[in-house]
Amino acid sequence: MNTKTFALASLLMAMPAFGHHSFAMFELTKDVTYEGTVVEYRWENPHTHIIVKVDPGAADPSTIGTWDVEGGATNIMGRQGWTRATFKAGDHVKIVAHPMKDGTKGASLFYAVLPDGKRLYHDIARPKAEGGAGSNP
């Protein structure tokens, strides 16, 4: 590997890797945990959506309310193990996502934590702690 390829490779490794369109509207440096109830699980294109209701009394009071968490296209999510039956309305859910910058109650999905502790990721991005690039530039 010559210097040029090495420089490019190390640059790429230091950078975020995620799925779909520009993430300019989300605060990518923030990983917020939303724990609550699924109001609606919309398995669809161009983006999957999980509407989550976080009740008063949540560990993080700033997350109280109903949030629209946006995922990727069904095909991209499908390859991470998601299906149209992953969630249904009424399910208890724990989601880690990047909130919108403008304060609107929306967020970009990072991953969901299933009851058995297994994680389902939005796409190929992984947290820094696990050897991934993280999702923050």
Binding site: H21, S22, A24, M25, W43, E44, N45, P46, D68, E70, A73, T74, N75, G78, R84, M100, T104, G106
Partner: protein, 163 residues
């Protein structure tokens, strides 16, 4: 029934839901929309450039139009049909999207502009072709068409960036 609730009903019909949940059909329809747009708008822009005397200056405008229409028209039909399908599949979200409303407004503007051209300048194209000059109104129509279609593309793209 309000428009929003009608859109809500529309996007929840099995047909609309089927498109939205398909790994194959949604990307295929969206891709066709853009590819067909390339054909129709691409050629509309070249014709606009003819009216502005930038391209094909040596050829009659009426001839360029006649030769382009067999290609731009099917492109337009596919673009329109796939656009309708995309709207049906996400009716409520799209209806509430401010950029979609601007896009519709610009599409109406493009339609009015084209109709004015058809009524006022098209019938006399062969006459002014002989003189080699383009009436200022036809030039204005060409310039307007160029700008309006560019705006339609930009608004269509920006629509996707609302949650």
């Amino acid at each position: 029934m309000s428009i929003v609730s009608w859109c809500h009903w529309l996007q929840n019909t099995p047909f609309a839901t089927g498109i939205r949940q398909s790994d194959l059909f949604f990307p295929l329809i969206e891709g066709s929309h853009i590819i067909a747009l390339s054909l129709s708008v691409g050629l509309i822009v070249v014709f606009d450039l003819r009216l502005l005397r930038v391209a094909f200056r040596g050829q009659p405008a009426s001839l360029i139009m006649e030769q382009f229409v067999p290609f731009s028209l099917p492109g337009f039909v596919i673009m329109f049909a796939t656009g309708v399908l995309l709207f049906i599949s996400q009716a409520e979200k799209v209806y509430l999207n401010p950029f979609f409303r601007f896009k519709l407004a610009f599409l109406v503007l493009a339609g009015i502009n084209a109709s004015v051209y058809q009524v006022k300048y098209y019938p006399k194209m062969r006459e002014w072709d002989k003189s080699g000059l383009v009436p200022w109104g036809a030039k204005l129509s060409g310039a307007l068409s160029l700008l309006v279609w560019a705006a339609v593309i930009a608004l269509g793209r920006t629509m996707a960036y609302e949650l």
